[in-house]
Symmetry: C2
Subunit: 452 residues, 2 copies
C-alpha cells in the first residue's frame, strides 16, 4: 500500500471506531457496509470482545462469513462464544475443513462434538480426516479438497476434468497425479497443462513430485513449500498415498504465525496468539510473567557471584562502576550471535551437527570483537581512571566477548538438538547466563591484575 | 520434510562436502548430478567462495542455470566474479528481468552496463523498466512479463489467449484486466475463468482489483499480497496504469528477507544478507561491530550514573550486589514489550497513531509485572538481608518494570513515526537505555528509604 492508501485505511478504521465509541450503530453499520472485507477484519482485530461481537452482528450474512473466515482462529473462538447456536452452526458449516479444525482447537471440548454433529455427512467425513492428525502437524492444516489426475489422461480431457471440479477444490493450479493405489507419482501445474498439446498425456508433462507427510511438523512443510516456490504441496500418508494438499497461502499463514512465536520467544515472552490491541491486559501479563520470573530467579546467581567478591568490591568501589557496562556488552555480543544462528537454523542454512563449525566461527568473531572493544576500553579507562584498571577492563572485554559469542552461537543448536524451540533459549536467557559468567571473569581478572 | 528426509538430505550434503574436502572432483560431480536442484543450492550456500565456484562449474549447463536462479542475489554476485565473461553473459540473459535487476544491484557499477549491452533488445527494455524504480521499491521486484485481458473478451477467447501466452508470462493464475488506457479495472483468476461459461465475458466474472504502486516499499506490497492471500498482485504506476505483477512466491521471498533483517536488527546487528556458513568471518564482525560500539558508548552512561552515586555505594556495598539483577529484569521487561509491539507493527495490527493506547496498555502491564516481582523481591531480600533493603529492592522492581515496559512499548512506534526501521531501536538499545534509567531510580529509592 502507498502511504496514502495506509492513511485512507487508517481514516476509515478511525471513523468506524469513533462511531462505535459513540454507540452510533446506524453510522457503524453503514461505514462497515462500504468497507472491503480486509478492512473490516483490521477493525475487528483492534476491538475488545464485546465490541467485536457488535460489529460482527452488524454485517450482512454473506459478508459476515467472509470476515469470519479471515479472522485468526483465536478471535473466531471468542466470537463463537458471543453468538447463538444457530448462528454458529451456519458459520461452521461454511468453513473449509482445515479452517474448521483450527477453530475446533480453540473451543471448549464440550462444544466440538455438538458442532460436528450438525454438519452434513460428507463435510463431517472431510473434517474428521483432518482432525485425525496430531496437533501442529501439517495434516491438521492441509485441505482435503483437491483435484487429481491420472498419468494416462490426455491434456484435453484433463482440462475438462479440472474445469468440472474447479468449484470444489482448494486449488486447481497444482494438481497431484496419482496411480491406482493413490500413490503420488507426479505433479502437474495447470500452466503446464495449458501449455501442452491436446494429445499429450499428463504423464508426459508432469514433473517429479515434492511431497510432505501428513504427520510432518506444520512449520517444516510450510517452509518446504515456500523454499520450493511452489503454489501447492501434495500431502501424503506414511505409505505415500495422497491425503490432502497444502496451498501457498496457507503456508504463508503458518510461517507468519511461527515468526510471531519466534519473535515473542526471542523477546522472552510466550506468544499472544491474537492481535495485540484486542488482547486483554491480564493475558499479556500472563504471557510475560513466567519467563520474567524464571529469568529473575536465574539472575539471583549474579547476586551470589557478587556476594563472593563483596570484599574485593568493598576494597575497590571503582570496580562496581563498570559492572553494567561489562555485562551489558557481553549480553549484546551473545544476543548478536544467538539471533544470527537462530535465524540460520529457521532457514535450514545451519543444522545441529554443524555445532563445531559454528563454535569455531563464533570464537573467532567474538575474539575479534573483544579485541577491538578491549583495546578501546583499555585506552579510555586507562586515561580516565588509571592504567591497571584500564588493563582489567580491556582484558575483561576481550574474554567476555569471546565467551558470549561462543555461548550465544552454540545455545540455539543445543536447544534444537534436545528438540526445544531454539528461540526459547532466547536472548534474555543468554543475557542472564552471560551476566553471571562475565562477573566471575571480571573479578578473577581484577584480582589477578590488581593483586587484591 | 520428515526427520528422515532431513537426515537423508544431510547425509547427501555431507557426502558432497567430504568429496570436496578430499578434492575428489569426479565423486563430487557424480553426487551433484544425482541431487535435486534445491539440494545443490543447499550445498552451495554452505561453501566458501572458492569451493562454490568449483561446484558450480561441475554442473551441466542447464542445471547450472537452475541452481543460479535459486541462489540469493549476494551469492550470485560472488559467483559472477569467479566466472568468465561468456559464462556470465549466458547466465545473465537467462534470468527473469526482476532477478536480473537484483543481481545488478550486487555487482560493481562498471560491470552492469557491459552486461546490459549484451542482452537482446526486448530483454534489455524489460530490464530497464524494472531498473527505473527506486531501490527497495516493489517496482524493482515485480515482473514486467504478464498476460492481460480486456473486460469485453469472452471466456473461450480469453482461455485461448492465456494458453497462447502461457510460456512468456510470470504467472497466468491471476490476470489483470485493463482498459484502453492500460488502467487496471479488475483482476480475474484463471480459476474463475475456467469456472465460467464460454459465453460469459471477462468483465462479468472479474473482481475488484487490489493493486500496489510501483514506488511502494517492497515489504509493504509483499505483506499486502500475503494478507490478501492472493497469488499475484498487479503493480501500477502513479496514474493507475499496469506496469508489472508481483507473484506470491516473490512476495514470500521478500518477506523472508525482511524477517531476517528484522531478526538481525533486533539482535543488534546489521543483516548478513547471505547464508551464515558462507559468510567470511570478517564480514560477520563488520555486521556486528558498529552496533556493539554504539551500545558500549551508550553504556558509558551507566558508568557515569554509578560515579555520581559512588559515595552511596562505598557506604553500602550491599547495594552493588543487586545491580545486575535489577537492570537485567528491567531489560527483560523492556525487551518483551518492544518485541510484542514491533511484531504487531510489522503485521499492521498497530499503527503509529495508536501510541497512547499502547502506552496506557504497557504502563498497566509493566506495573502489574512490577508488583508481582516487587512483592517477591521484597519478601526474599527482606528475609535474606534485612527489611529496609528488601523495601528498596521491591520498590525498585515495581518502578523499573513500569518504566521499562512503557519505554519498550513506545520506542518502536516512535521509530516508525520518524521513518526508522522499528527493529533498529532494538532490544539492546532499549536495554542500554533502561540500564541507565534503572540505576538512577535504584539509587534515588535507596537514598530515600535508607536515609543515606
Amino acid at each position: 500500500m502507498t502511504p496514502e492508501q495506509t492513511r485512507a485505511l487508517d481514516d476509515r478504521v478511525l471513523a468506524i471506531e469513533q462511531a462505535l465509541s459513540a454507540d452510533d450503530l446506524a453510522a457503524t453499520s453503514s461505514l462497515i457496509a462500504d468497507a472491503p472485507t480486509h478492512e473490516v477484519v483490521a477493525v475487528i482485530e483492534r476491538l475488545d470482545a464485546r465490541r467485536r461481537a457488535v460489529v460482527y452482528r452488524l454485517l450482512p450474512k454473506q459478508r459476515a462469513l467472509e470476515v469470519f473466515e479471515d479472522l485468526p482462529a483465536s478471535l473466531q473462538g471468542d466470537l463463537v462464544d458471543a453468538l447463538q447456536d444457530s448462528e454458529v452452526a451456519a458459520v461452521f458449516a461454511d468453513l473449509d475443513p482445515d479452517d474448521r479444525v483450527r477453530l475446533l482447537d480453540e473451543l471448549p471440548a464440550s462444544v466440538a462434538p455438538r458442532l460436528l454433529r450438525g454438519l452434513p455427512v460428507d463435510e463431517r467425513t472431510l473434517t474428521a480426516a483432518v482432525l485425525g492428525y496430531p496437533q501442529d502437524s501439517i495434516g491438521r492444516r492441509m485441505s482435503p479438497e483437491y483435484v487429481t489426475l491420472r498419468p494416462s489422461v490426455r491434456v484435453s480431457d484433463a482440462l475438462a476434468r479440472v474445469r468440472s471440479r474447479v468449484r470444489d477444490a482448494e486449488t486447481v493450479y497444482t494438481i497431484p497425479v496419482i496411480d491406482d493405489a493413490r500413490t503420488v507419482v507426479g505433479v502437474i501445474s495447470l500452466r503446464d497443462l495449458l501449455g501442452g498439446a491436446d494429445d499429450d498425456t499428463v504423464g508426459a508433462l508432469m514433473s517429479e513430485p515434492h511431497t510432505a507427510t501428513a504427520t510432518d511438523d506444520a512449520e517444516d512443510a510450510a517452509r518446504l513449500c515456500a523454499d520450493l516456490g511452489v503454489l501447492a504441496l501434495p500431502v501424503v500418508d506414511s505409505e505415500g498415498r495422497l491425503v490432502g494438499i497444502l496451498t501457498i497461502d496457507d503456508a504463508v499463514r503458518i510461517l507468519e504465525q511461527e515468526e510471531s512465536e519466534d519473535a515473542a520467544r526471542q523477546g522472552g515472552a510466550e506468544p499472544l496468539r491474537r492481535p495485540y490491541l484486542s488482547t486483554p491486559i491480564l493475558r499479556i501479563v500472563r504471557s510475560r510473567v513466567v519467563w520474567l520470573f524464571v529469568l529473575a530467579v536465574g539472575a539471583t546467581l549474579t547476586v551470589q557471584v557478587l556476594s563472593v567478591f563483596e570484599d574485593t568490591l568493598a576494597q575497590l568501589t571503582v570496580l562496581a562502576l563498570f559492572v553494567p557496562l561489562l555485562i551489558g556488552t557481553g549480553g549484546n555480543t551473545g544476543n548478536q550471535a544467538a539471533t544470527t544462528v537462530t535465524r540460520a537454523l529457521a532457514l535450514s542454512e545451519v543444522r545441529t551437527r554443524d555445532v563445531w563449525r559454528v563454535l569455531s566461527r563464533e570464537v573467532r568473531v567474538g575474539a575479534l570483537l573483544g579485541l577491538l572493544l578491549g583495546v578501546l576500553g583499555f585506552a579510555i579507562t586507562g586515561v580516565v581512571f588509571d592504567l591497571p584498571v584500564g588493563l582489567v577492563i580491556g582484558l575483561t572485554l576481550l574474554s567476555i566477548c569471546t565467551v558470549a559469542a561462543s555461548v550465544g552461537g552454540v545455545m540455539p543448536l543445543l536447544a534444537r538438538a534436545i528438540r526445544v524451540d531454539p528461540a526459547v533459549f532466547s536472548n534474555p536467557f543468554i543475557t542472564t547466563f552471560v551476566d553471571a559468567t562475565g562477573l566471575v571473569i571480571y573479578f578473577l581478572i581484577a584480582r589477578a591484575v590488581l593483586q587484591i
